[in-house]
């Protein structure tokens, strides 16, 4: 974790420019992309805006508690079009990274984002978000001020904002901390960006019981932009310069600008009611399940649902299908459960 925060992993990727597409081993290839996504010199929201926007006025503060430097929000003009921009901001150097908390937002960051996005709705301006975050800040003060509530509220707000939203995953799409500003009518991703439900290190610690298996976890979670496109989570992948976005900021910014303006133009043509309904349907349809016949899962020699309920609540009625109280117990409440 420390390595990751001070960017050692990222530098390694920068010094040895082996392209992920040229690596034969799939695990190593994915891991190379994760390193590119985390590269310290990758363009972030402010670097991109400097190259994309004709004008940008940053707005500060959530009006409740403070200002979070890990999230940048403001009003911009891109290609003559007025927009609201929200994005995460990591620092390229250690000092700035510390000031910006390594791009990990606190609740006030998301509340600032909500405030500015609502302003966009009121002014009738479309919203562009840039997502690059290892995750929301996981600390005591974050929890005290309601990090989960702020993320949930921001997601909820974005599902109903009556203005077009284009989201670009530019680097690390780290779980809920990313999603809080990544609900869009269109979700784009840079070629070497990654998007995941948990960091590969976290996933490996839980499922493999060691963070060393992070590359395997990264592969299993299919977190690259191309995989996300296939899963339908991302709508379009924006190509990067050959050796990665960090090698050529202007070229990256030009590609991002072209894709964003193209999608905004298309979205602005749609009536707002239709747009909101389509956004709802987009997320409503994401998921993979099937519907089986209504029979309960085949669990032979077990009491039925109602009997188990009775057993569980200590009712006097016993299961009538011959299962003894002991077997009912064992299955309803495995003793190990409380230790999970």
């Amino acid at each position: 974790m420390v390595d990751r925060l001070i960017g050692r992993g990222g530098r390694k990727g920068a010094e040895a420019p082996v392209l992920p597409s040229e690596i034969a081993d799939p695990t190593a290839a994915v891991w190379a992309r994760v390193q590119l996504a985390r590269n310290l010199h990758r363009p972030r929201t402010l670097e991109l805006l400097a190259l994309i926007a004709d004008d940008f006025v940053e707005l500060h503060g959530d009006r409740f508690f403070g200002d979070d430097p890990a999230i940048v929000a403001g009003l911009a003009r891109i290609d003559g079009r007025r927009v609201v921009v929200v994005g995460q901001q990591k620092g390229a150097e250690t000092d700035e990274n510390i000031r910006r908390n390594f791009g990990m937002p606190h609740p006030e960051g998301y509340r600032k984002a909500m405030r500015v996005m609502e302003l966009g709705e009121r002014l009738g301006l479309p919203i562009v978000t840039f997502v690059d975050v290892p995750g929301a800040h996981p600390g005591a003060e974050s929890e005290e001020r309601g990090i989960a509530e702020s993320i949930a509220k921001s997601i909820a707000l974005m599902t109903r904002l009556r203005t077009p939203i284009v989201t670009v995953i530019t680097g690390e799409g780290g779980s809920g901390g990313a999603l809080a500003i990544a609900v869009g009518d269109v979700v784009l991703a840079l070629e070497n960006a990654v998007y995941s439900v948990i960091s590969p290190e976290g996933c490996a610690s839980i499922l493999w019981r060691t963070p060393d298996q992070a590359p395997a976890a990264a592969l299993a979670m299919r977190m690259t932009a191309a995989d996300q496109l296939e899963l339908g989570v991302v709508d379009e992948v924006i190509p990067e310069p050959r050796e990665g976005a960090h090698t050529d900021h202007p070229a990256t910014a030009a590609s991002v600008k072209a894709a964003v303006t193209r999608h905004l133009t298309m979205l602005e043509r749609r009536p707002l009611d239709e747009l909101i309904e389509a956004r709802y349907r987009r997320y409503r349809g994401l998921g993979a399940f099937t519907t089986l016949d209504v029979e309960p899962v085949a669990v032979p020699e077990r009491p039925g649902f109602t009997d188990r309920l009775r057993n569980l609540l200590g009712g006097s009625a016993r299961a009538t299908n011959g299962s003894g109280p002991a077997s009912g117990r064992a299955q309803d409440e495995p003793p190990a459960r409380e230790e999970v």
Partner: protein, 315 residues
Amino acid sequence: MPIKLPSFRQRRDTYPPDLWTQCPSCQEMLFNKQLEKVLRVCSNCGHHFRLSAAARLELLLDADTFEEHDPGLQSLDPLGFVDLKAYPDRVATAQATTGMRDAAVWGFGAIGGRPVAICVMDFSFMGGSMGSVVGEKVARSAEAALVRRIPLVIVSASGGARMQEGTLSLMQLVKTVAATERLHLAGVPLISVMSDPTTGGVFASFAALGDVNVAEPNALIGFAGARVSAGTIQGELPEGFQRSEFLFNHGFVDRVIHRSDLRDELAKLVALMAPMPAADAPNETGSIPAFRPLSFLSALADRVSPPESDEVVRG
């Protein structure tokens, strides 16, 4: 005179696990039958043991009112996920040990004689994790509550999003919140009941967004796992960190309610929060009514029509 020999039986044999449970909080040995009679709350220290979805429904709903919907939803394996074990095998194991198809159950029922839609999660199924099926059930329960204009009660017991379904699990946060947000806008109440544990992506979506949030005593409720927080953050975590009372003290939970009072309190809340009949009543086909935002928003949107704003930009 016979000599009394000391017993060589090991102590754990004295308490066969199918008859006795040890309270993890006060170490008291509790007789299982007695424990179930008292709603699985330790009679010594008040520790709330976890409840299965079935027991939770039995606890909260009026007798014989539960009508389950969509019991046949079965998760797929969209990623082909394999860690130390393949995801479908993990699901099959969980199904065999719990008798459930996934970690949530939803349906209609009544609390204190008033109809509700209810969705209940079960921690014993893969840690109550939210994948596509759980997300779908929460969303369907919210959409059904909207159509019938009856309160929605969601009882959370979950470690968070299900890693094995990758970002599709993450997308369930949006799916569920989009559906509950429509309830909010339509004036249909959501009551979020947080039990031990309610963490990660479940807390960071619908569970945190109840019109009323209630929690069982001392339930673990938080965004980041305590290990993540402790590993990332130097210094000690505050006393009672991420417990119900901590959230209550910081204003994110309305009430911390002992399990024995939960049903009565919910009945009161459901009665007091009964939604007004909608001007636009749900149609008979049961489809979801078209989205209607708060009136001031649509009025606003009408004033700011896209062509005009284009004019402004060019000017």
